[in-house]
Symmetry: C2
Subunit: 300 residues, 2 copies
């Protein structure tokens, strides 16, 4: 292994772009590709090399990171015509940091390793704030050898790096994270709706609850804004819905339903249906207000 | 106000007994009453005076704390025959630290203040562990004058003392706390059920989630035991069900239903119905397993 690997980054959205910036700041030689031009130009100005295709990223890189919306995008970018695998050398480490279905992650892992590549699934949590700050939590699935090879790359982007198990395990832990994240927001939202109707001062409620066993990071970071009806994203409803559907599909593959996750997914789907899919996921509070029969609070 | 007030404690159960002990340790002269004898004898051995009735506690005390199961008990002990109010001097401060309905707290407050007494509702969180350690979170409703008068007494029993608003406000914030507590456990439990079926290592899941925005105190203190199927209480299902019913009744008085709280209350009711009301509230995981169609895990 060379001291400093050449890293490719494909997918320069809200997450991928700051992640690529942090790789450049850490001294990596970075080659980027994105469907649209402006993000590539911005990174070129920071020192990145712009590639004409995923295949060209593959040719230029020892490690290729993909950060794209969903599994069909990962498929296309890695295995499609002009995809990474058509350009990369055998042994290249592919790291998919998108949040996709664990089953798709395992399938893609098997397809690319059959071609002689190495692969980790490595979804993240921490949002665009964590991506910018380089403090993402990175949950990986794959071999410990590949994880150690990826470690310097991960360290440029994240703070907490965890090998969760074999291929797909990163996506499984991410699914657990998204289940808990959604249901904890549900808890905070229902308490705020109740408290408002009953005349509780939301700031006092938050202060008291955060001092005890009911404390949650979600209430700490979102509670005050939720109580004010400020639902600027943040993490968008439509994205969280996608992630819950991944969890429900994986559960189904094991013969399970997820009773509370399904209900919160329905709340998110209602928001998407009414054109509010781009609000923060904490806007499920407005659905709970309607289900509860509560008067909607003033929105900021 | 005297430098050191005489404090009465009525109700020496899992919570009241260690709270009275901590008052003795802090140097208060403490008079106790309990329906059954052994707890009174134990506190007498620590220096408490044993009273023959709540009225006698009232006669001996400047401040009387009640810590009893539910509002009929508070009614009986304060306002019933031989109750505190039949013995206490006007101006005596009555502090009900039981968890009861906010409406009942307001009604009892109005009844005793009409007789010339002062009153705070001051339910707690932190459980028997917090009661023993003197680290309870105390959430009070009443006037700031009465709250300040109670402060030295509260400081002997708790760590976080919050005046939440007027009479009943302590119970309202406690209700918020119990809603969030129940729904956060639901979140943790559903993720554990999902994770187990999907083959996630629960210790890794907990470690990763606790590092991010999905972090909850409940997963921190209970997650590992829940994953092992260890449901020794802790906070019992039957007690949490009582508290959720208080929240749902208060919501109803404001024309609201609480969609997710109702569902978790149903889970607790199912556990009580099958004779498992004395398990820890985290045993709702077993109900989720059944709803999800998951194989039950081994229990410890």
């Amino acid at each position: 292994m060379r001291r400093m690997q050449n890293v490719g980054v494909i997918g320069l959205g809200l997450m991928g772009k700051p992640m690529a910036s942090n790789l450049l700041k850490a001294g990596f030689k970075v080659t980027v590709f994105n469907r649209s031009r402006p993000a590539m130009d911005a990174l070129a100005a920071e020192g990145a090399t712009v590639a004409a295709s995923p295949a060209e990223v593959g040719r230029a890189s020892d490690v290729v990171i993909t950060m794209v919306p969903d599994s069909p995008d990962v498929d296309a970018v890695l295995l499609g015509p002009d995809g990474v695998c058509s350009g990369a050398r055998p042994g290249t480490l592919l790291i998919d940091m998108s949040t996709i279905a664990p089953a798709a992650a395992r399938r893609i892992h098997d397809a690319v390793t059959a071609k002689g590549f190495r692969m980790l699934d490595a979804p993240v949590s921490g949002g665009d704030v964590g991506a910018k700050a380089g403090t993402l939590s990175i949950m990986a699935g794959g071999t410990s050898e590949d994880f150690e090879r990826a470690r310097p790359v991960f360290e440029a982007m994240g703070k907490t790096l965890t090998l969760c198990g074999p291929a797909g395990a990163g996506q499984l832990v991410k699914a657990c994270n998204q289940i808990v994240g959604a249901l904890v927001l549900n808890a905070v939202a229902e308490a705020i709706v109740f408290g408002r109707a009953a005349g509780v001062d939301p700031d006092i409620m938050i202060r008291v609850l955060q001092g005890g066993v009911a404390a949650t990071r979600a209430m700490e970071v979102r509670g005050a804004r939720m109580a004010k009806g400020d639902f600027a994203p943040g993490f968008k409803v439509a994205h969280h819905l996608k992630d819950l559907r991944i969890a429900m599909d994986e559960a189904k593959a094991h013969g399970l339903t997820l009773p509370s996750t399904s209900r919160v997914a329905d709340m998110f789907a209602a928001l998407v249906g009414e054109g509010n899919g781009t609000l923060d996921n904490s806007s499920m509070l407005t659905v709970i207000e309607r289900m509860a029969g509560a008067a909607p609070a003033a929105r900021t």
